[in-house]
């Protein structure tokens, strides 16, 4: 670039105040209209879509749960046929795990991480757009199949040989396997974006020990995704190959082995629980600091616990297979490591309680949900330590005890913090506060509803009620507890109706939120609510772990970035020293087109292996379109 051009290039230090804001906004905004919306690469736009879509799947999965609870509320109900019940619990489990719990955490990260680290967009914004479309198409594919009576019916872990062609000759298991491929592609893409955003786009001065805890938790989660998801990709691919082109991976008569499936599945499936849980702990730490009015005690302990949990979670998968007849020594080792993982979680809980103890807690709705989380999670953890031991697991394996346990962990450990997070960040995302009064109704309904729904299941399990049965006879004596559980489930579902009503009401009538309505300490609160397209007019400089509490009311900032094209500041990995002013991609329709081409490829290949041949060129073409420089400023530096 010539010197003359260099001088014409307007930088943000030549402009001030509203002039600068307006200029940056025109550079960074999503183009208007429908095509503009389809082209958006703004992490906030995509994050919002991701969050809303994931919550929609929560509602769908929840409706199925209510169907199951109605069916089980009395002996020998005939609402759902056995075949439909199989589809319903499989759809419920798969929707909750693959379309709600994992995506919703990534969705919050897509929205929040760039703001928290003080940058203007996520790394690889087009990949981010692509990821969202893949997630959406995969979810729709699963649900449309279900409406056409080809919903999977093999349980959320689709064990072979039940899911093999021989026992499942329809397309149902193929739908399951391909839905997995869709959602894993989406999850892996977000993981890469998060890692690079956290490694390279932190505001200057945000050294490793100043990274907000939610960002740390998402970084650890991204690594878990990166190392766990390839396993399920291999699993779903081999399953579908067995079913479509007669490979023999799971066919014992030709050297195949059905336990291979269980290893591949649980090597992913156990970390999966932590992929859901670790981000939730990050949310808890953020909310606690704000409402206890002090920094979280034991920051290094929490970071190390997160990392330790991440590592340990890979040593545990075999505990899902205790009843398959493992060598004794192996069973012993896996029991020990399953117990060991309670240690870092326990440490985190101590840090949180100490923070509350030492702080001046303000009991607003987000904090209530965090307290609810701590109570429920401790109960879930106890029953977890119980099922981690081989003798107990053998006893309660595949009973409602296990159903109770994992709902305590998943809902207590993830959904409660998540709803707290909705109350906490709603003002940032939407610019208005949620109603505190409805919030309290929401919390108490959820807390009692949840416990009434799921605590009795422990007892039912001990009484011998197996999971995945569509009904039971009166003589079993399970009717009362089941009815109680169903009543609780309806209460719990109502709590989400309250949340939805609160959101709709507050979007229109809520108190407008200023930049930092909770007087919180992290950078997402240093910009407007909702943030402008460029996030920050000038990139902040971080000098403290709680920047907004330390800096009083002036924020130190950087100047010198372009005011003519999209530019982000790259900084060094450990010290966050500025290194490069890197161009950030413009909006583009190609990620959507690539996602459509990939969808045709994935769905086509269920029906004919030739789809691999004719499906590839469109994917290649759209990818080239995606990466080919357009001659705009960002590309021609």
């Amino acid at each position: 670039m010539s010197m003359a051009a260099e001088q014409r290039d307007v930088r943000d230090d030549a402009l001030h105040g509203l002039q600068l804001a307006a200029r940056l906004e025109s550079i960074w905004r999503t183009p208007p209209g429908l095509t503009g919306a389809l082209m958006s690469v703004d992490h906030k736009v995509i994050g919002r879509r991701y969050i809303v879509t994931a919550f929609t799947f929560l509602v769908l999965g929840g409706l199925l749960a209510i169907l199951m609870r109605i069916q089980l509320s009395g002996a020998e109900n005939r609402l759902l046929s056995p075949d439909l019940y199989n589809q319903v619990f499989t759809m419920h489990g798969s929707t909750m795990m693959f379309l709600f719990a994992v995506p919703v955490m990534e969705a919050f990260a897509v929205y929040l991480v760039p703001l928290m680290v003080g940058t203007r967009n996520i790394a690889f914004p087009r990949l981010n757009a692509f990821s969202y479309w893949m997630f959406l198409f995969g979810g729709c594919f699963l649900w449309i199949s279900f409406l056409f009576n080809v919903g999977p019916d093999v349980g959320w872990f689709a064990y072979t040989p039940l899911s093999s062609l021989q026992f499942n000759p329809s397309k149902r298991a193929d739908v399951w396997a391909q839905m997995i491929t869709f959602t894993e592609v989406a999850a892996l893409a977000v993981a890469v974006e998060i890692i690079v955003t956290v490694f390279k786009q932190r505001a200057p001065g945000m050294t490793l020990d100043r990274i907000p805890l939610f960002v740390w938790s998402m970084l650890v989660t991204a690594f878990l995704v990166m190392f766990a998801m390839p396993s399920i990709m291999v699993a779903s691919t081999t399953l579908i190959l067995d079913r479509l082109v007669s490979t023999r991976f799971y066919d014992p008569s030709s050297g195949g082995n059905v336990l291979l499936w269980q290893h591949l599945f649980w090597f992913f499936g156990h970390p999966e629980v932590y992929i859901i849980f670790i981000p939730a702990t990050g949310m808890v730490s953020m909310i606690l600091a704000t409402f206890a009015r002090r920094p979280v005690i034991g920051y290094p302990v929490i970071v190390l616990s997160l990392i330790a949990t991440g590592f340990l979670s890979f040593g545990l998968w075999v505990h899902h297979m205790f009843v398959t007849g493992l060598p004794h020594l192996a069973a012993g080792l896996f029991t020990a490591s399953s117990m060991l993982i309670a240690v870092p979680s326990g440490l985190q809980i101590f840090c949180w309680i100490a923070t509350l103890w030492d702080g001046r807690p303000v009991y607003r709705t987000p904090l209530l949900f965090v307290l609810g989380f701590i109570v429920i999670f401790v109960i879930g953890g106890l029953s977890g330590v119980m099922v981690a031991s081989v003798p107990i697991d053998t006893q309660v394996h595949d009973t409602y005890f296990v159903v109770a346990h994992f709902h305590y962990v998943l809902i207590g450990g993830a959904v409660f913090p998540l709803v707290g997070a909705v109350y906490y960040w709603f003002p940032k995302i939407c610019g208005r506060m949620l109603s505190e009064r409805l919030g309290r109704w929401n919390f108490w309904l959820a807390f009692f509803g949840f416990n009434i729904a799921f605590f009795p299941m422990h007892i039912l399990g001990l009484m011998g009620m197996p999971r995945r049965v569509y009904t039971y006879t009166l003589e079993m004596g399970w009717e009362r507890l089941n009815l109680l559980s169903s009543v609780g489930a309806v209460m719990f579902a109502l709590s989400f109706a309250v949340l939805l009503a609160n959101a709709i009401y507050s979007l229109r009538k809520g108190t407008p939120a200023n930049d930092n309505p909770w007087d919180a300490s992290t950078l997402e609160w240093a910009t407007a609510s909702p943030p402008p397209p460029q996030n920050f007019d000038r990139i902040p400089i971080v000098t403290h772990r709680e920047p907004l509490w330390a800096d009083g009311d002036t924020l130190p900032v950087v100047a010198g970035l372009s005011a003519e094209r999209r530019e982000v500041l790259l900084t060094s990995l450990a010290e966050a020293e500025p290194q490069i002013r890197e161009a950030s991609p413009e909006p583009s329709i190609w990620p959507l087109l690539t996602a459509i081409a990939t969808t045709i490829f994935f769905i086509g290949s269920i029906f004919t292996p030739w789809a691999v041949l004719w499906g590839t060129p469109p994917m290649a073409i759209t990818l080239i379109g995606w990466f080919w420089p357009t001659g705009s400023k960002e590309d021609e530096e």
Partner: protein
């Protein structure tokens, strides 16, 4: 919130090489997760190997020559690949063109050899679990080979257009990096596919 400018970054470059740049870390992350994919596939192979009394199942081991020829070419290809790397760092457009064309040709030769390797596996994917896992692993690596070849060709073409601007040289170095990954990933697979069945 009031702001005070305490630092100016206007003099910083607009692109960089290696760990300074974002795409390098992107490539690194993708290699990590794809490497994990290979590791899992290898794990599946060894698991099936361990639970089956005979191995290979109902077939003779693959013929050695295609895999061996590929291994030699893969290893030698690191040399022109490094030349491409150096030319990109020097931002020498002419040399980058030459080496990218060379690398594309090498990729095409390898892809053809790969066709022969499939033909000389001496088993079909639907013969036995052995055949399935062998085809899976070779297919997985071939996908990587083909994608990287595609990327190399696109970059080579780019270098002959008006888009050959400095920041594209950084893309070339990332492509070099990724090719090295494709080569390194191949070595354990070669041992696994061609030699383990001969144990």
């Amino acid at each position: 919130m009031k702001q005070t400018i305490v630092r100016r970054v206007g003099e910083l470059p607009t692109f960089g090489f290696g760990p300074q740049s974002g795409p390098w870390w992107g490539a690194m992350s993708f290699m990590a997760l794809e490497g994990m994919g290979f590791a899992i596939a290898i794990g599946a192979y060894l698991y099936l190997y361990a639970v089956n009394p005979t191995w290979p199942i109902g077939a003779s081991p693959p013929d050695l020559w295609p895999g061996t020829a590929e291994t030699i070419i893969f290893l030698l290809s690191i040399i022109p690949n490094q030349y491409a790397n150096r030319a990109a760092h020097q931002q020498d457009r002419h040399k980058v063109r030459v080496w990218l064309v060379v690398m594309s040709l090498i990729g095409i030769v390898l892809l053809i050899l790969r066709g022969f390797e499939f033909a000389h596996l001496n088993t079909r994917w639907d013969n036995s679990a052995y055949g399935s896992v062998v085809w899976l692993i070779l297919g997985l690596h071939t996908t990587h080979l083909a994608t990287d070849l595609g990327d190399t060709i696109v970059l080579a073409v780019l270098m002959f257009t008006s888009h050959a601007r400095p920041r594209r040289f950084s893309d070339v170095t990332d492509n070099v990096f990724y090719w090295n990954f494709v080569v390194i990933a191949w070595l354990p697979l070669y041992v696994l596919l061609d030699w383990v069945p001969r144990l």
